[in-house]
Amino acid sequence: MRIVPVLLALTAVLALTSLSRAAPRVPGKTLVLLENYSLRQTHSTFFRQLQEQDFTLSFALADEKKLSLSSYGDRIYDNLIIFAPSAEEFGGSLTVRSILDFVDHGGNVIVAGSSSIGEPIREFGSECGFEFDEESAAVIDHINFDSKLDNGEHTTIVTDQIIDNKLIAGTNKGRVLFRGVGLVQDLSNPLTIRVLSAESTAYTYFTDEKISVAPHVVGSKTVLVGALQARNNARVLFSGSLDLFSDEFFNAQVNVAGATASPSANRDFAISAALWTFKRSGILRVSGEPKHHLAGQTTVPELYTVFDQIEYSLRVEELVDRNWVGYQGNDMQLEFVMLNPYLRLTLNNTGDGVQHASFQAPDVYGVFQFRVDYKRTGYTYVQVHNQIPVRPLQNTQYERFIFSAFPYYASAFSMMGGLFVFSLVFLYHREAPATKKN
């Protein structure tokens, strides 16, 4: 009873990794828009550290006439730094729309604000899920302020509420100096990340006005530095403070009442956040195609049967110091999905970035997908989808000798035996002579 299975044997393999397969172009071409040229000196350490990391910086004033981010639809730069908080408009063809296009095409942006924010920066922020607070408002903290650098308004604040993520903020924890405006995070946008927040005693308001309405942002929900990793993995970093990147804050000692002075963490924090934004850390890619096969075999089959033992493996690499090395993470998950996930398993990192899982196919047939959707704060997204049909059991694959069915078999065989014996008796029976007498 071998019926040739007429099953749809279509295997569509979708490897949706939006990462580019090649290493990112090094050095990264970066356009730096400045409020004025003196920023080149006052923020020289920040720029020099970027240049040491092989970024090519092109400096321009924000209102320079020939500014452009793309040429015939192609990005000219990999990254953009906007250190022009109060710019009312950009020069050349640069508009908020063109910067958003730049991000849509995978460009990364660092934007620094201050207490005076121009309209384009504000608009760009709200498009990316961060609202800058009102013009001339400042983050104030009467408890955690720097007693040396502050001008008496308690707006040069100190915070150690750095995101616990070594990719974005680096490993060196400390206190960060900040002077500027607060950001309001759009919590309904899951792509936004709070990178640096204020202490719970902080608030943002106008320094010279009595507080009559509740401030927009109060306490530890005040975002000082926020980031967005778009769905195309483009990264945007918003800082409410331009001074955070300055040589003055990089080299400063933090003096808070009641605590000993210590060097500020600004340098490590700012450089690490910038390198993250410009895709020097937290980059994952899938190496080759994911492999899946029956246990004990090595070839990828056209389809699976329910109850099959399936092996799945995938190699993921991380960019570390510009080399692709096996990803160390141990929390990737595989889903086996037909409309809904039927299985979700944590992949086992078997070394050198190979993520492996072994599981039994569910007793449901249909067209399934192996799906690895890996999203972690700080890492680029990994999305791998492979489609595969799972068919029901063949007729010969069911259980054959069920004891409960033996009465049926016994009756069948007794009938067959009976038939044979009866046919002999029927054909060759000879009547007894006694019968002949009658």
Partner: protein, 477 residues
């Protein structure tokens, strides 16, 4: 721009050697144009060509001015801004930038025409314990200014007061005065200090000075029956139980050391719960008549912010102001706030569902594993039942054999013709094939074998049955 610098630098020795030419004078006048074209912000002034270029042009301009013995045609405000620009760059890390900065600052500090002064606050917060305010007045390069100063203390509402600043004996650039004594009449607040050093033609600058009052926070008994007196800075010793229909009202007044009412910029109550990472702020209102601050925590109004989670919440009062010696962060106590489940359910149900377009924040964490639950096989009857039924279905066959035995069934008519053997063997074969089909043959193999054996069975059967029929006919005749 640099060409102007080179021109100035080239002309300076000429002038020193005694040359007098209209060209020299005209070139010198161009300093005014250069400064007019420079980048100018609220605080800074510099040439768009950069730090070293600005430094070079300014140095050579002052050299030429010295040779001509004529003040450069620049406004004092412009030179002050220039000095501030260079001071801004003292953190520069490039050796070239450091050189440019230091030489320019030196030129601006040592010239016969205009020496901009820098006023740096040293101690700008005065209090009862440390009443003196001190500022450092220096030239751009950090040397003591060494000029008499006119100092005015200004508060927006009152008249400016003239202050006599005394230079520190050990440090000629450090000036200080007793602020608390000076402002004892007008009270605490933020003052501006206007310092001018007119003989050197310096402009005015101001720094903020703060009087530093001592604070007492005195709680007022609340109007309700459950009022509790609190003493700053101690927290209430017992825990309060509050339900969602009640209000917590905190009243207190702020006075400075002279018992004058003080109005602070930040008067917030912070409701927090470390376990849920919940934090909510309520703003205090100041009543001008009674001089009391009142913070009303209406539990039903803040339920939304607390997710209506029944738990222990900590409430602290934060009072901060730029004029405060040290801000107050006073934990007043722990409050067990309870919300009925029905209230919480209604509140959470009324919440707008968070849009899931583009995924949710939960996607960024490890998700719960899902394991497939396989269908449980149907329960089968016990073996004894099957065994009994096997016996029952075999019983008729057994009965047949026994009954045949009794009535004397036999096969005595069997003739030993070879074709008859083939026929019976083929019948047995057909039955055997059916057994094999059950055991391991597939349907199509079975059909194939059956077809072969069936042909033999049909042919031999035809022959055998015909022979038997013929024999019977013969016997009956």
């Amino acid at each position: 721009m640099d060409s102007y610098g080179h021109a100035f630098a080239a002309f300076a020795p000429l002038v020193a050697a005694g040359a007098k030419d209209a060209v020299l004078a005209r070139t010198f006048e161009s300093v005014e144009d250069i400064l007019a074209q420079a980048e100018e912000t609220e605080r800074l002034l510099f040439l768009s060509t950069g730090l070293s270029s600005t430094s070079f042009v300014i140095r050579s301009a002052f050299d030429l001015a010295a040779a001509l013995n004529k003040a450069p045609p620049a406004k004092p405000a412009q030179i002050t801004k220039l000095a501030r620009y260079f001071e801004n760059n003292v953190h520069a890390s490039h050796i070239e930038d450091v050189h440019a900065t230091l030489t320019a600052l030196s030129t601006l500090s040592n010239n016969a025409f205009f020496v901009p002064l820098a006023i740096t606050p040293v101690a700008i917060r005065a209090s009862q314990q440390s009443p003196r305010v001190s500022v450092r007045v220096t030239k751009a390069n950090g040397d003591a200014a060494g000029v008499p100063l006119t100092v005015k203390l200004v508060r927006s509402a009152s008249k400016p007061v003239n202050v006599a600043l005394t230079a520190d004996a050990s440090d000629a650039s450090l000036y200080s005065f007793d602020l608390v004594e000076l402002v004892s009449a007008s009270g605490s607040g933020v003052y501006a200090l206007e310092i001018s050093a007119s003989p050197a033609g310096t402009g005015k600058q101001s720094v903020l000075c703060q009087a530093r009052p001592k604070f007492s926070v005195s709680p007022f008994p609340a109007a309700s029956s459950k009022a509790v007196d609190l003493k700053f800075p101690a927290a209430a010793s017992s825990k309060f139980s509050v339900d969602f229909l009640q209000k917590i009202i905190v009243r207190f007044s702020l006075t400075d050391a002279k018992d004058q009412p003080f109005i602070a910029h930040q008067v917030f109550a912070r409701v927090s719960n470390a376990r849920n990472d919940v934090e909510h702020f309520v703003i205090g209102e100041h009543n001008a008549q009674t001089n009391q601050y009142q913070i009303v925590l209406d539990i039903s109004a803040i339920a939304e912010a607390l997710d209506a989670a029944s738990d222990d919440y900590e409430i602290s009062i934060i009072v901060g102001d730029a004029g405060l010696a040290s801000a107050i962060n006073w934990k007043i106590g722990t409050f067990a706030i309870s919300f009925p489940d029905s209230f919480k359910a209604t509140l959470l149900a009324a919440r707008k569902p968070v849009s899931t377009v583009g995924g949710s924040r939960a996607d960024f964490a490890t998700k719960k594993e899902i394991h497939h639950i396989f269908r449980v096989p149907e329960k089968r009857p016990p073996i004894i039942v099957s065994t009994v039924f096997i016996g029952l279905v075999l019983a008729p066959a057994a009965f047949l054999l026994v009954a045949w035995g009794l009535i004397g069934a036999n096969v005595k008519n069997m003739s030993f013709h070879p074709i008859a053997h083939v026929f019976h063997a083929s019948i047995a074969g057909i039955l055997l094939i059916l057994v094999l089909f059950w055991l391991h043959l597939s349907f199509f193999t079975t059909l194939k074998y059956l077809a072969l054996v069936g042909i033999v069975a049909a042919a031999s059967g035809n022959h055998t049955l015909r022979r038997i029929a013929a024999a019977r006919e013969k016997a009956s005749q």
